[in-house]
């Protein structure tokens, strides 16, 4: 199942023959990832889609360095990934803002851990402005809405100027209006910063709306079944024929289309 990425494209992240198995307390093992091969191009917006349990979050955690693959290797710019690093920013499902820090301090975290806060104080204000949180600098996370918290989490990851931004269903817990708002914000950030983005999602529309390529994964064992190019111009319209066509084919790949209820009778 090896895929040929056109050699002219610059590869930033290479995933080779990665396997990962979970063991639970009862010695059952779940093959979360089986023989994963994937090359991520510099500056692209890549989505990983699949039903729950297909290993997409596991894959993202391996890229982040939060877990280590059982076999195989992951390299970023030719260097093997051995642990978490601010150059691979990670936005968690629930944002994971530190409750005891103000929005401003949350966003400044990366500068402080790298001990470059003093020289770059103005960056904090810049990123607060960038994600539209001006006026909420001194608020605590529980005082702002879920969408705002998620934007703060994105700013917090971006302030480290990461080479890759990993997004683990960041819009999963948000209502559809807020979700659309953050999706546009992500596109805008992607266009302006040229950061490579890898998004894990189970929302097909979201994946098509945002991505240059979509990786479709299937569960048990978790493996890549297909990689799809989305060659639509931005801004994309969710109701356009091309959009719906891609949507249909993805759903088919996910075996969802065939599972749709058939009419019981035909007139």
């Amino acid at each position: 199942m090896s895929r040929n990425i056109s050699e002219t494209r610059d590869v930033i992240l290479e995933i080779e023959n990665v396997n990962y198995t979970y063991y639970d307390d009862y010695d059952n093992h779940v093959e979360a990832l089986q023989n994963i091969n994937l090359s991520v191009r510099r500056g692209e917006f890549l989505s990983i889609i699949g039903s729950s349990g297909c290993g997409k979050t596991t894959l993202l955690r391996l890229i982040a360095g939060l877990d280590k693959p059982e076999t195989g290797k992951l390299t970023l710019n030719g260097q093997q990934i051995s642990g978490p690093d601010p150059q691979r920013g990670y936005v968690f499902q629930q944002g994971g803002l530190f409750q005891w820090m103000t929005v401003e301090k949350n966003i400044a975290t990366g500068l402080k851990t790298r001990r470059v806060y003093r020289q770059n104080k103005e960056l904090v204000a810049h990123f607060i402005e960038l994600v539209g949180l001006k006026g909420f600098e001194k608020s605590y996370p529980h005082q702002i809405s879920g969408g705002m918290a998620q934007r703060a989490a994105i700013a917090r990851a971006l302030i480290n100027n990461p080479e890759v931004l990993l997004l683990d269903e960041p819009m999963g817990a948000l209502d559809s209006f807020t979700r659309a708002d953050i999706q546009d914000k992500l596109l805008e950030l992607h266009r302006e910063n040229k950061t490579t983005m890898i998004l894990v999602t189970h929302d097909v529309d979201e994946a098509i709306y945002l991505s240059d390529r979509i990786v479709i994964m299937t569960p048990r064992p978790g493996r890549i079944s297909e990689i799809m190019e989305v060659n639509l111009l931005h801004p994309r319209h969710r109701g356009s024929t091309e959009f719906l066509h891609i949507r249909r084919s993805i759903l088919e790949k996910l075996h969802l289309a065939s599972a749709m209820p058939q009419p019981e009778y035909i007139i």
Partner: protein, 357 residues
């Protein structure tokens, strides 16, 4: 004609509902109600003063006159002065509260209790000193309790300072040690393995059980008492700190690690801040234990302190002095608790509005 309420929709508009909810949080007190409660607060204490002045001294109690700073005072006059000061204080608080709906509600809510407090003082005064109905010398009246401050104010002050010094040295040491060891036990599994059992076993022993050792092992009684206070505070603070550190959500640590955090940052800026609520629970528990140990230690072998003063007075059956010491303790310890509460509110201000309080 139909009633207006029948025509209007029964459910109020969302904005209105919200406003109503806001208003429900604090009861609105009208100016009239405020006046009534203001008077109620003051009347109770006024009754206490009146009882002291107008009820005849029936029982045979010696009323000595002391000269303090040029004034001739008996315990009765001092009692009237103190109660008068309480009235002035509540008057000031009351007037201050008038201008803020929250404070007004709070002041009004406490008025009945304060009124009854005044009446209780009056009843106690009459039955304790005026008529000697209560068993004597165990229950002197409230006025009589103030007499020690006329007799030996400087000696009492000396003992207060001794207690305070003992408390602050012992308690701050136990906080520092408790939080320090708690963090190590909570973070490093090896430290947990070796030291947590020790903490668990020694922690259940009441600190005063170490008294014989403390008194012989330490060169001064002061150091012995500090040791006891440290022991009793340390366990509570260390175990709760360790629990707090251990309950750090893994996800929060992962977030920090993807942002480039190393161990020192993870401990100082993730684990400790999120353990702060538990650490403060430990500290408040420890405060209570420390008061107990402090007074016990003082009663059993200290050259000063409020416990020592109690012991000294007990020997002479001067129970009014015992009560005076208890009164000072009540005020002093409440103040210390209040200060710790304020520090807690400041440190945990990020929780405000997030947790149920």
């Amino acid at each position: 004609m139909r009633n207006l309420t029948e025509i209007l929709p029964s459910t109020p508009l969302p904005e209105v509902a919200e406003e109503k909810q806001l208003r429900n949080r604090t009861k609105i007190i009208t100016a009239g109600q405020w006046w009534f409660n203001f008077a109620l607060t003051l009347v109770g204490f006024a009754v206490a003063i009146a009882a002291n002045i107008f009820v005849k001294q029936v029982a045979n109690v010696e009323i000595k006159t002391y000269t303090v700073a040029g004034f001739n005072l008996t315990f009765n006059t001092l009692y009237r002065l103190v109660t008068g000061a309480v009235i002035l204080l509540y008057m000031a608080i009351g007037i201050f509260s008038y201008f803020d709906p929250d404070r007004r509600a709070k002041f009004t809510g406490r008025a009945p209790f304060r009124f009854v407090m005044g009446l209780v003082l009056a009843a106690w005064d009459i039955s304790g000193t005026k008529l000697l109905l209560l068993p004597q010398p165990f229950f002197p009246g409230p006025a009589r309790i103030l007499e020690p401050f006329l007799i030996e104010a400087d000696f009492i002050l000396e003992n207060i300072l001794y207690s305070l010094r003992l408390f602050f040295v012992g308690f701050s040491l136990s906080v520092i040690l408790g939080i320090g060891t708690g963090i190590l036990i909570g973070w490093f599994s090896r430290v947990y393995y070796w030291f947590y059992p020790v903490l668990k076993m020694t922690g259940v022993i009441p600190a005063v059980a170490w008294m014989p050792f403390a008194l012989t092992l330490f060169p001064t009684p002061f150091m012995a008492a500090v040791f006891l206070i440290v022991i009793c505070g340390w366990f509570s603070i260390a175990s709760l700190t360790a629990q707090g550190i251990q309950s750090t959500p893994k996800s929060q640590l992962e977030v920090a690690r993807t942002l480039g955090a190393k161990t020192l940052y993870l401990v100082c800026h993730v684990a400790i801040p999120q353990a702060m609520p538990q650490i403060f629970t430990g500290i408040s528990n420890a405060t209570g234990f420390a008061f107990t140990t402090l007074v016990m230690a003082e009663m059993m072998g200290q050259p000063g302190g409020l416990g020592y003063y109690i012991n000294l007075s007990k020997v002479w059956s001067a129970y009014y002095k015992v009560f005076a010491s208890i009164l000072v303790m009540a005020i002093l310890f409440s103040l210390i608790m209040k200060i710790i509460g304020l520090i807690r509110a400041r440190v945990l201000r990020w929780q405000k509005g997030w947790v149920k309080e």
